[in-house]
Symmetry: C2
Subunit: 200 residues, 2 copies
């Protein structure tokens, strides 16, 4: 005899497709929404519908954007000869927050992961090669994640890019600022030794 | 220079109003949605808008329902003389799954919590009293949660209901089935001793 009204059941089901949300959390969120003011709930629902309707991937760099090409690709103040390659739009935003990269970006929309069946053709690799072939690029900075997939992607791209671009660089791996040497894992500590620099 | 396109920023903000979802998770969910097929994302957004538009609280028992009064309140096979009082609609559903309560329900839509400023006037207490005054009720089962707020609510309601109803009962507290005596907390173990029954 236990049943959910159909709209409740449908929402619980839809929420379960989100990462990290199981049946219990989906149920909790649904009953939470049922208790909230209608305008707040409608705002959330419409924000979800709109984000998909209004946001596209930039046809040049594949960052998320409302206008195509995106604001970074069309900004004349950004240096088109320096391309920073990242896996996802949030990586781009994290780098933008540092304010240190004055060039443009290329978002792969993923990383190589043979175990998940993700190969180069699933990423924006062809488009990256086309970019460096059709416009002058002095440096490609490979800023994929410092994990297995990100490293594999960087190594793969470096091989393809070296014949086409003057400098192909990889962001530094090492001890995080404010971190503690004692608690660093061996791989990070090893990378930080390898990457050591003369003191100025 | 770091910015989110406006629809992205708006969704991240809206998601943060959900319980247990902070800025990082909201960002992760938003970028997850941007990578999903449009029909899946639209289905989620519309499910949220619809749940609020199509679901109301039953005007008799305050359970969530598409039709008012709800299916349990209008089901002639359910015993209107036995009322089970719960805090939230999910509690009702949990009880329905046991299949053991053949009466009807009353959903308080909360529990007394002076620290959060939730008093009897914020719950459906007045409506509960009106129900037992205007229709014959033999038993009210207080099935609020076995925590501080639920106990306080049960004690408060019992006091109000005793002059009006033949039997006012409280669901049993004791060791969970499949549990281990050694690991039970003292309060639960105490309750399970107090509530002991003659073996049949």
């Amino acid at each position: 005899m236990a049943y959910y009204p159909e709209p409740v059941a449908r929402l619980i089901e839809a929420l379960q497709k989100l990462p990290g949300i199981g049946p219990k959390t989906a149920q909790r969120l649904t009953f939470f929404l049922l208790k909230r003011p209608p305008e707040e709930v409608t705002a959330l629902g419409e924000a979800i519908v709109r984000v998909k309707a209004q946001i596209v991937n930039c046809s040049v760099c594949f960052n998320v954007t409302e206008e195509d090409p995106c604001r970074i690709c069309t900004d004349p103040a950004r240096d088109g000869k320096s391309l920073c390659v990242v896996e996802e739009p949030n990586d781009l935003l994290a780098l933008e927050r540092t304010g240190l990269h004055r060039g443009r970006y290329h978002v792969l929309l993923g990383a190589l992961s043979p175990l998940d069946g993700i190969g180069p053709e699933d990423l924006r690799v062809r488009e990256l090669l086309a970019r460096v072939e059709t416009q002058p690029v002095d440096e490609v900075i490979l800023a994929t994640n410092p994990n297995v997939e990100g490293e594999a992607t960087a190594i793969y791209l470096a091989k393809l890019l070296r014949p086409l671009v003057g400098r192909v660089t990889r962001i530094a791996r090492g001890l995080p600022v404010g971190g503690d040497l004692e608690y660093a894992d061996e791989v990070t500590l090893g990378k930080s030794l390898e990457g050591r620099k003369e003191m100025g």
